[in-house]
Symmetry: C2
Subunit: 359 residues, 2 copies
DNA sequence: AATCAATAAGAGACCGGTCTCTTTTAGAAG
DNA sequence: CTTCTAAAAGAGACCGGTCTCTTATTGATT
């Protein structure tokens, strides 16, 4: 393969130094804003830099300093409004502290996540924020830790990894959401998630390697069982990984003989597709079927009826995890913190008593 | 496990070379995958690298090569689904060609855009994709060009800047959308955009420095005038920069005595807020008021009624611009290309005859 | 057996900054 | 007018790779 030589020789400190008639070291002191220089020399160097239109090479700079001023963020799916809002929280906190953000998408695939982490470490980011797509193989996350770079986790905790973590209480909030449905009289409640497992069929919690979802399912099942619902796990559906998959899955779910009377959707992307399928099948909400979804996506308030949602503090989630990481980047040494942010449920109009209940 | 390296110092080619008993140059050839090395030596070096857990320092690598393998993307607002979808198009194309993407948000502010460009150039990205927030001051974009790095523009063309550009025909599509409203009988049509100008009030096209929006307004006004509508520009509203601003603006627009009977929204974020305000004011769509928006956002198909939209090929827009840029990065030299992708309108249920029309 | 070309490995400069260490300069003290 | 000290400027090593140029080794040719 050919190596094209980029003949774009840009202006360097040496160039500036030559024009300003000082040594490279002195020019570097002025341009890098460190050390001590006399006012006259400083003015000369600045003038020369301006005349030549000098632009520092951040690469060279961070190679010697070891710091890049960049926070690496690995997120499941940037198109999911949940994540893009969280990323804004991260970006805002980063900018406020003078850091920049590199974003990488894992597509919720562990191999892509591992590659992204390797890339970011290679780019010598100062620290990383990761939404671990699963808890089974976290060797690459341990590597980060071992490489001396701080790591913080967003939305999903890893019991085995003692690092700064910001989540919500997924178990508790799933319990509260489920209870709303149970209290309305439902006994056939489905839980639909994008997380997949072997065989595509839910058997037990041990299959679920995404901590947030495991917690939610745990809470969901507990409330169902407490309410005396028989084998609630039979209505758990995994693998709603794309709009297409979700549609197929929802279609099957809603056409079976044992059709659920209420659905709890694990994210707003899933809920949207389920909503469409319900419409298409002529199911009225909430008369024929009830729906609650995680994440207060913008569309949930404009449908007829508007959707009852679990309103996670998404922006705060991102902002907090970034702030935690930045404090550590600034040298603060303290034990890892596990922040759990409070979450509310916004009750709108998508929950009602089950159809059979009214007979 | 052997003694874990507690040193923060990372493993370099020299370390690997020493352990493998070869020169630094040879180790570098193996680890960098260039030059020619015998199989035995290669195996030795690889073994040493694995034993030491060598990770290349991408910073050092791209400092000498001048290439970073990164495409910088500066986008107006990553939370706008329009942009996040376009970014996915870019990312997919980039990944397929072995490039990574750094994302920066300009918030549609020219100073932030300029800062982002400077940062990315400093980080020595191989090329840039920018959604220029305005056409007045493009000196920073000329700088990119001058620095020898290829630049490509997304969604917004700049007549004065002869670089690869991918857009849609905004003027034409705005004309078609407006014509739908005119044909339905409307003569009081509002155009609402996030773009702001001095005085917050529209006077003439010369005020509008965002090319796509200028084109759209141009087309909108042409169709209005051709239809004999008097002073159509009086219903143009600028400065819907945030949900809050949009709400205020929409509230005022819909409460005036000269209330429009149809609204054309410049993006889906604006349309959503307008939709909410309409609901809140008890305006029925399309009986009392009609609505068309740019961008087929996911929520537009689930409202009652669903919204008629301008369906730009957003993903393709991102993918195409990235492919154009990548071809140039691979060394292809050809005149700048200006791609205009075809756009359709999806007619749903949000357009009807104006209320007065039915009298 | 001697010559030559091709191949493999080594030595060291270089990229553009930072930073330590050394030298020069200037002002204060004796 | 020295001498001393602190401040300012200079010299050059260094970061961790790449890459050019040189040297050593091998096999083929005559």
């Amino acid at each position: 393969m050919k190596r094209t030589a980029p003949k774009t020789q840009s202006i360097t400190v040496s160039d500036v130094a030559r024009v300003a008639n000082v040594s490279k070291a002195t020019a570097a002191r002025v341009l890098g804003g460190y050390g001590v220089v006399s006012d006259t020399i400083r003015a000369n160097v600045m003038a020369a830099a301006k005349a030549l239109d000098y632009r520092p090479n951040e690469l060279a700079r961070s190679m010697t300093t070891g710091r890049s001023g960049i926070i690496g963020v690995v997120v499941g799916d940037i198109e999911n409004p949940f994540f893009s809002l969280a990323v804004r929280g991260i970006s805002d906190a980063a900018r406020a502290a003078g850091f920049n953000v590199i974003l990488a998408n894992s597509g919720e695939r562990i191999d892509a996540e591992r590659a992204a982490v390797r890339l970011l470490i290679g780019k010598r980011v100062d620290g990383l924020i990761v939404t671990p797509s699963e808890s089974r193989d976290i060797s690459h996350l341990r590597d980060i830790h071992r490489s001396g770079r701080p790591l913080a986790l967003l939305d999903r905790a890893l019991p085995d990894l003692d690092v700064d973590t910001v989540t919500v209480d997924d178990r508790d909030i799933a319990m509260r959401a489920t209870r709303i449905l149970v209290d309305a009289g439902h006994s056939k409640i489905a839980y639909v998630t994008a997380v997949d497992a072997e065989g595509n069929e839910y058997r037990d919690l041990g299959q679920i390697y995404t901590s947030s979802v495991r917690e939610r399912i745990d809470g969901f099942l507990k409330v169902c069982r407490d309410a005396g619902i028989d084998r609630p796990e039979r209505h758990i559906r995994l693998g709603a990984t794309s709009p297409d998959e979700t549609r197929k899955l929802a279609d099957k779910l809603l056409s079976g003989p044992d059709r659920p009377t209420a659905i709890l959707a694990s994210d707003s992307l899933i809920a949207l597709e389920i909503f469409k399928v319900m419409r298409q099948r002529g199911l009225r909400i909430p008369q024929d079927i009830s729906l609650i979804t995680f994440h207060d996506a913008d569309w949930t308030s404009v449908t007829t009826p508007p959707i009852t949602v679990v309103d996670q503090p998404v922006y705060a989630l991102g902002k907090s995890v970034a702030e935690l990481l930045i404090r550590r980047l600034k040298g603060e040494a303290r034990p890892a913190e596990r922040l759990i942010l409070p979450t509310t449920i916004i009750e709108r109009g998508s929950v009602g008593p089950p159809a059979a209940y009214k007979l």
